[in-house]
Amino acid sequence: MKRSHIIGIVLIAAAIGIIISTAGDASSYVTFSEAYDMAKGGSDKSIHVVGELTRDNQGEITGIYPSADKLSVRFIMQDENGKKQEVFYNEPIPPDFMRSEKVVVIGSYNDELFVADKILLKCPSKYQEETVEAKM
């Protein structure tokens, strides 16, 4: 066997190894129900849940309860199946939170409460305002 073949084989093996390890370390997007079942099933893996903040009839965001010192926050989030869930985030309210169109929480269930280690926001357009105020 030529040495270039050996290098080729090692290279392919490394590439496959990387792909497999990625698949193994990859988290997954689930709904709250699935996440809850996973937690009940004994998995403590961190998972992603995509959803939105709840809004009232006027379109105002509701269900945000910052702690007294603003260092942590509890909020109600609705996943893509419409299930509402209280989420606890042990950090101050992230920037742009109120303007977000979609919220991704990364974390896991702790009993009935979903504890987010990290929050990602998808803003309608992060660098663009939504509407014009008629101020002359």
């Binding site: 030529k2 040495r3 270039s4 290098i7 290279l11 490394a14 590439a15 990387i18 792909i19 390890s21 990625t22 698949a23 370390d25 990859a26 988290s27 997954s28 997007y29 689930v30 893996k45 961190s46 998972i47 992603h48 995509v50 702690s67 007294a68 010192d69 603003k70 260092l71 942590s72 042990n90 101050p92 309210i93 992230p94 920037p95 742009d96 939170f97 109120m98 303007r99 979609k102 991704v104 990364i106 280690d117 990290k118 990602l120 926001l121 998808k122 803003c123 309608p124 357009s125 992060k126 660098y127 663009q128 305002e129 939504e130 509407t131 014009v132 105020e133 008629a134 101020k135 002359m136």
Partner: protein
Amino acid sequence: MIHEFIGDLGHFFVITSLIAALYAAFCFFKSSNAEGIDKEYFWKQNGRAAFYVHAFSVLGIVFCLFFIIYNHYFEYHYAWSHSSRRLPGHYMISCFWEGQEGSFLLWMFWHAILGIVIIATNKFWESPVMAIFSAVQAFLSSMILGVVIPGLELKLGSSPFILLRDAISAPIFAAQPNFVPEDGTGLNPLLQNYWMVIHPPTLFLGFATTVVPFAYCIAGLWKKRYKEWIRPALPWALFSAAVLGIGILMGGYWAYETLNFGGYWNWDPVENAVYVPWLFLVAAIHVMIAYRNSDTTLKSSIILVITAFILILYSTFLTRSGVLGNASVHSFTDLGLSGQLLIYLVFFTAVAVILTIARWKDIPTSEKEADTYSREFWIFLGALSLCLMGFQVLIPTSIPVFNNIIELFGGVGNFAPPANQIEYYSKFQLWFAVLVALLSGVGQFFWWKKIEIKDLKSSLTGPLVLTLIISATVILVANVADPTYIVLLFAGVFTIVANGKILIGLFKTSPKLSGGAITHIGVGLMLIGILFSSGYSKVVSLNNTGMLISKESSAEFNNENLLLFVNEPKVMLDYELKYKGERVESVKEGIYIDKNDITNTAISHLVTVKSDVFDNDNLIYSKGDTVEIAPENTFYEIEYTKPNGKKFNLFPRAQINEDMGGLLASPDIKRGLSSDLYTHVSSVRNPTEEVDWSESEEFRVAIDENFFVNDYVATVQGLERLPELDGVDLSEEDVAIKAYIKVQGEEKEYTTTPIFLIKDGLVGRISDEISDLGIRLSLLNVHPETNNFSISANTRQKNWVVMKALEKPFINLLWLGTLVLVAGFIVAINRRYSEFQKMKTKGLE
């Protein structure tokens, strides 16, 4: 009034630039394939003219857009959403590329300039290279075209010259189509930083230059000059890698200075999207250099140069198409360009792949395998390691793309990127870094010494022993205990020592060739800098008081943060800390002013100063001057006193913005030779929020009589009847009286000026607050009969701040390493470019 002309002119330039680029591509294509010098010359002249028209149009677009921003034409969406009247001139430049359209424009601008340079510096290569260049430009022009194709309802590109009323459907425009907002919504304050003025142009110059080696490579395949393309492409590839590398590091430096995650690299998809092409570009450079000296790595040079450029296109697609969506914190949002971006990516991938396959059999190869002890073999291994290093980042970053592909075929793609990105990427990248560092050390020996197997031991023994001695010393002194860090440290030191030895040898004989050795030393320094600053970053603000800052916070928060009350010293590690109070920064002079010394006016960014403001004994403002400040920023002055009595002050910042939902902290950094002290606030009193004031306490005092508020001594110094009062119409019968009350704080004397007002027979009181001391005083009544007056005082908790401080050891090695790396690149570019010029003057290329 709506200034339609400038927008129309800009749009006209966009269309011209697209047509000119298409025509230039066509002409250069014809010229490359033409038979006979006349025809070739004819088409080349046409192509050049078209490209000059294109370049002029691009400058025209840039001019129009900047004109709109500079003159505050807020009827344009771009100016309205990215700028505001108050924005200083240098940040208007940043507005220009804050939006996606502007960043495409920046990219095109660099391409236009590079194209002119290519036309000026090439003979044979001009036509084929420029054909590819012009095609790329045509694609980029189409991204900012903003034209809807009638009948198909297909929107091509997103124009920066769109009017606000067309971009946003707000009710006001129905009533008043010509409504122009008074002010823009401003540039994101986070981006108002000098790095954001220079980081994007540098990064985009790096982006833009990757097309040059690609164009040479494709031209070489096309014109069957399989070997010759490498010579002109190499200096450009080096230039590209150098600029892109600086651009990436500048972004990291900005993050380090501005964001409070405590580092410079977050493995965010947007960061990875430039890191991966850079690694492949560096790998490409290595095999190209190896090829200059032997024939073995020609095919890999072709593949890697193409891959690097395709990856640039791919990363453009990733960050701008919205596909990253849920995966990234700060990817651009979808402007509806995904289809166009995909076509851009697929077009050049297809051209490159088809051409390579068609020519594959013709590409010369050497039959002989590279010997295990040949230098080419080791370089090749290094390049492969770099590719794998990039591949490892590429795969997880592309997870959202895989999901989309799965969904395209009807499946359910629910993979998410690894939950803890920093930990995940670091654990792999660290070992690749070790491999690359070791190979670069060994490889350089093979390269310069041409050693035989029997000499290997003797030549490497010296550097190895030296490396062991240095590593062992560092391990002992810096107390490095983690085995993986020890390995990384060893690899980093080894590459510095081995390349240092080569460098010393080269300086004696031929310093022009020392680029490689210098660059590798830079890499070694960077690795060690990263190892210490990230691996041994240490929280120094440990809360040893045993008291919780907040019961609701995590143990980690309570342990790693310090609560400081104003003017109450606290001990932290080797320092004595004192929080001195809240400050604002004047926009023009950039000096900090005590918040107690200013009075707000009706306009939030203008304040008047209550007393003279000095900067190092120079009078900056006199009492009563109006000063422009950035009202969203508050700085928290913290005085550090070292054991030897030396003091320095840090001013960590908080941007409080209700829209953004809270606190945006930026650190202040005390730079030291061996480590940086990094301080940011973790929690502050929110100035926009109602505070709990105590019950009023009343005092009846005469002038110069002392009274005690919150344990501070206060004295009324005098009263003054005000002839006029801001915001209040005073008539003949009305009275406004201002009291001057002196309060002696721990550190300084404060003067507070509550106002007592009788207007139309009604009493009004305007109280005044001493923020530092948490005191608010009101003048309740004046009693002329007894010659004294009533004052009421409310108190609240004193000003406080919760801060966190980190020590970042040897972070300067990272920045130093970057500079060394760039210096090495410059030496190498100089050498390779002069080689190309020599051949060109000989008329060979």
